[in-house]
Symmetry: C2
Subunit: 699 residues, 2 copies
């Protein structure tokens, strides 16, 4: 995890980015197979299988309730996707549209590395799905569902043969439900989304300085004093775990220690290294409170607590956090200093290693395998531990060389607002890992996307996860070398629509949030606000913390435009592609020029309408500088477009002035913690309009 | 109810419509008080009460769990509406923002006619809400919630004094969950909507030819054989009843008999008058099967069944349907004919009256008050029965004269696709009822909107109920003479947005349905489809049944454009208002002319883009004639607008040809069972452009 240190590595090599952008324009044809993640092997055959009210799935071979549930879910999803009425009660004996054969059971408690493969054969007369166990069957059903498409003749699945299996056995999503509480129903719909893209690990980040979210019956003051009443009951947790299991998803709980633990101390200050008193932290950042690693009662408490949670969460893996201890409470505590001296512990890193070792023993004693963030990897740590790397592929490869299993999260932090393409370019086996031996490579189990929730709550979390998480899911499932970015985007857009049928709100949330921001409005004003929202993105990486005028806290409303915009603007991505296409044509394509002009004109005029709204709403007013920046920068780009179309190149001083204006406008947008994702495209137009460019003076 | 006979009365007097349309343009100022239904009395005072994270509601006087729930719900709604974080756990002792005082309890089982009044005083330092009992308190909380608005300084409630009470004690919504099953969560969110607009009766239509939806433990074959597995368990029913009670809403169940009852006979054919065999009906219409009123075992069955349901539904009222028996099974059954002769029953109406009398006795025996549709009102029926009138205000007034209590549903059938203004114009005390004595008027208890579900399912039901139902709710709550249609629309639009915070999907459903129809698409194509969808309406009244090429059934997918368009197009309503304004200005207002031209140009060009989609989707292709009709008719209107702007009047033959083309285009739209709501506005433009009009030759 890590909320500060990870800043260091946020910049992806520029070369990789340029390469992916270049791919975007071509290869739209790969979008034809609307499956995400792409299967390992697909052979198209002739014809298609009609999907109508006679649809019937029949399970053969090994049977269990989970398969029955999956069949009902498939039928419900077909009904949602197509509107077709499927009355199962009405046709117990008809022929099967989809025959789904499972060879044998999977493990009662789902294990890492079980067979997840399946084969699917679709012919005009029926489909056959085959899997070794229910896990593969669940994945195959999702592929079948994704293949259903509307045609001029109705809904159908194109005939084909699919053989599929995952590249990595650990394909996870971590949700931070501690900084902001994420209600169980929101967790569940995200599990539905994970199932759709074949992710198989839900990493549940349950404790933080800002909240302790799991009910403990042994130590009830953990959730009573540490959660503001916002926690998961044990019944809710069991329900989520069962829900996940039904979808082939393991649930790995994380209780972060010895740092990130202020909320524990609200109820149990005796665990801490400082004098207290402690209360749930409201601010964001890295804080001083840390458990006392020198007091045996800490381990007595943790032994009982881990035992309780080990029984509640059936998965083999148990995440103990271990990141970002600043050591200040340890430095200030004479008893701890004395302990360190008497035990020849030289520094806080060694002290943390000592603590970490003790906790790992407890986890092992309770028959679980520990997982920890990078920091837990210190000399001598047992090889059983799994390292979750926020530092990057280098440290992951180094750990694998030393015989440690690892999962990659660096590059998969969804809250940083990166583009899907940028996440997609991150590969757990890239860089130094490529040089590992096959055995060492097998130690790299896969990856986990992470959504940290400083600026994420139940209302906007879906939009911060989806659809970009589907690109990460594909990276972790599909064969190495699945790198067609244009195809990925085309399929991701289709998947984004499908995910809405599951109840995810990653698109629909925006309208209601914008209505709140707008207050009462005319359609013209509202359209302006929406156009601004859809053209902008929130600031990337950790800029939001840096640029806030008042430091935000967990009580700060997430109701601003920055909380409402998509992390990656579809509108802007398409605009940038159009600009590339235009310039690529030597500025000679009039249709694309018209398209660019129409979009720029819309943006250029949008601010006048938005300013009307700003008079009646403080939330519009706050965002108004960004709207003005969008309109102003679009006007600058229009000047460049005019210069190109008139064949009168921009003089160099004018070019420089305009680039400088654009940069100032980007700074202006930052006042509302927003960015103008089209700025590079605007700059390209200015460059193309400038004297000496291949486009300038074309007409 | 009645699915055929009610056709006769569907046309509201033209004068009334014209009057309301005329009001629309002015009086927007009344929109300032964004409360719906409008309170009985409002006095504005100075300043406003800030709403922020310190918000705290404190209950005083009489307390009960329902009030506690309402307080939590209020806080949750404030959080949703504003995004402000309210941590109740965090401030047990702070000062009250809203002090809510309740004098005493209401009835344990909510009764008709209990006090529902409240007073609300908002000052800059706090708000005080006062009610005699929890029912009034619940209404007052909704008013407070509606008053929260965004301002340039943040969220606040304007200072004011409100005194409010309902005009009618019975303000209901009937949902037909029998023709299409409506899941409990959809019912619940509609109860939330009802609470928001202060409706207090949920009439639950539970049995029909096409489905029997309530679990019966005494007669389990009712739901097992009569529902395709789609029914409410008794636990779910109790949960819905409790959910409704928490919101001040009574639940009146309806089991329709002796007709509309085929689904009963699937499991219990011995109740029927015919020979069977019986199965759940799939078609729509009025059918022959009817209970055997001459067999004592029918009454033995009904006695036990009504007893069971009377215990399940605590409300005093019990609806026995009683509508639309065609008598064919009775005519064909010699045993019944013999019975009629021996009992001197002259015709089927008398036979039904006999049945009805017997069933009313059973209902009374189980300590409930019967309710029935118009047909149950026959000479000699006890005065306790409540008549629900689908026939109209005349029969309601006549019943009141005879001493019967009644509720109006004629004019409130939401499935007919009427405008909100048209529903709003219906008044239970209009027409002959105006001449009743005050005592007689009191017998008219109020009204009920009804959503019949032939073309309504879980996916689109919200859009068929909301927001138009808010206009009916206002008619039943607000003082007589609350008739400003422009104010109503302005407030209804605001309320439509608020209802989305409750989870209602009346707006959001459309995008996902359109995505299904479109299949895969570019944004340009999708925008075209959406523009077409938002400009059109579904056919009104019963035209859909009449114009279907294949008779629809309960298994027909509701996935067409006709199922996706709003019953009342906001876009078209605004366009029509703009045309009225333009013509009202003597065609001299250039800004409005530009607005009209922009809209017409958009519609004129939309079809070209939609036809691209039609090549890949059967559902777009099916709707394409309506899209073409929209574009063609917009082109015709543009010609008229050009003629006006150029000052060259249209010759009379051209005028006639254009009007005739428009009518043909409307017929073409009917192929997809859609209508062009802007047609009258287009015709007005043509008339205004024609020789002799005050507009022609203006420039």
């Amino acid at each position: 995890m890590n909320r500060v240190g990870r800043r260091a590595r946020r910049i992806l090599p520029a070369l990789m980015l340029v390469a992916s952008e270049a791919c975007m324009v071509n290869a739209q044809s790969n979008a034809a197979l609307n499956v995400m993640p792409l299967p390992a092997k697909v052979e198209h055959t002739d014809g298609s299988l009609k999907i109508d009210a006679s649809f019937r799935i029949v399970f053969a071979g090994y049977r269990e309730p989970r398969l029955e549930h999956a069949g009902l879910r498939l039928e419900r999803q077909i009904q949602r996707q197509t509107g077709i009425v499927i009355l199962r009660a009405n046709k117990s004996g008809g022929p099967a549209t989809l025959e789904a054969t499972t060879d044998r059971e999977s493990k009662a408690i789902q294990e890492l590395g079980e067979d997840e493969s399946y084969t699917l054969d679709v012919t005009p007369t029926g489909a056959k799905l085959h899997a070794a166990n229910p896990l593969g069957m669940l994945h195959g059903l999702q592929t079948f569902l994704q293949l259903i498409a509307i045609t001029p003749e109705g809904f159908s699945v194109p005939a084909m043969h699919v053989e599929d299996r995952p590249r990595f056995p650990w394909r996870g999503l971590m949700i931070d439900s501690a900084r902001h509480f994420i209600p169980p129903d929101v967790i569940k719909r995200n599990l539905d989304g994970m199932e759709a893209v074949k992710m198989n690990v839900f990493h549940w980040h349950l404790s933080e300085n800002q909240g302790f979210r799991a009910e403990s019956r042994k130590f009830p003051k953990l959730h009573e004093q540490g959660s503001d009443g916002l926690f998961y009951t044990q019944e809710e947790i069991r329900d989520v775990v069962e829900y996940a299991r039904d979808r082939g998803i393991r649930v790995v709980p994380e209780f972060d220690m010895p740092g990130h633990s202020t909320a524990w101390f609200a109820g149990y200050p005796e665990l801490a290294s400082g004098g207290g008193p402690y209360a749930v932290e409201r601010k964001w950042g890295v804080f001083d409170p840390a458990m006392d690693p020198t007091d045996e009662k800490t381990y007595k408490f943790l032994n009982e607590f881990i035992g309780e949670m080990a029984r509640l969460f059936p998965d083999q893996f148990f995440h103990i956090g271990g990141d970002e201890v600043n050591g200040k409470e340890w430095d200030a505590n004479p008893k701890i200093q004395t302990f360190m001296k008497s035990h020849r512990i030289k520094n806080n890193a060694e002290l943390q290693a000592y603590f970490s070792g003790r906790v790992q023993e407890l986890v092992t004693k309770h028959k679980k395998t520990p997982v920890g963030w990078d920091e837990v990897l210190v000399p001598g740590v047992p090889k059983t531990i799994v390292i979750q790397s926020w530092r990057g592929v280098d440290s992951l490869a180094a750990a694998a060389k030393d015989g440690y299993r690892g999962i990659l999260s660096n590059g998969y932090y969804l809250d940083l607002g990166w583009s899907a393409a940028r996440h997609y370019a991150m590969d757990p086996l890239a860089g130094p890992a490529a040089a590992l031996t096959p055995q060492q490579k097998q130690l790299i189990l896969g990856g986990e996307s992470c959504i940290w929730s400083e600026y994420v709550n139940a209302e906007n979390i879906d939009s911060r996860i989806w659809p970009r998480n589907a690109a990460i899911a594909e990276r972790l499932w599909s064969p190495e070398g699945t790198n067609d970015v244009a195809s990925m985007y085309a399929r991701m857009e289709t998947e984004a629509t499908r995910l809405e049928w599951l109840g995810l709100t990653h698109r629909s949330f925006q309208r209601t949030m914008l209505q709140r921001i707008a207050g009462s409005w005319t359609p013209v004003e509202f359209d302006a606000l929406r156009a601004v929202a859809q053209a902008l993105e929130h600031e990337k990486d950790y800029a939001r913390e840096a640029s806030a005028s008042v430091p935000p806290t967990s009580l700060t409303p997430l109701n601003r435009l920055v909380d409402t915009v998509y992390p990656e603007s579809d509108v802007s991505r398409r605009f940038s592609l159009a600009v590339d296409q235009f310039i690529g044509s030597g500025c000679k394509d009039p249709a694309v020029a018209a398209q660019i002009r129409a979009q720029l004109t819309d943006w250029a005029t949008v601010d006048d309408r938005l300013q009307l709204l700003a008079q009646s709403s403080h939330l519009v007013r706050e965002a108004a500088p960004a709207s003005a920046a969008l309109s102003q920068s679009a006007k600058i780009a229009l000047v460049a477009l005019d210069a190109i179309s008139k064949g009168t190149p921009l003089p160099d001083d004018q070019r420089k002035a305009q680039i400088s204006s654009l940069n100032a406008l980007e700074q202006q947008a930052h006042k509302a913690q927003l960015t103008l994702p089209d700025l590079p495209a605007f700059q390209k137009l200015i460059d193309a309009a400038s004297a000496g460019s291949s486009c300038a003076g074309q007409k």
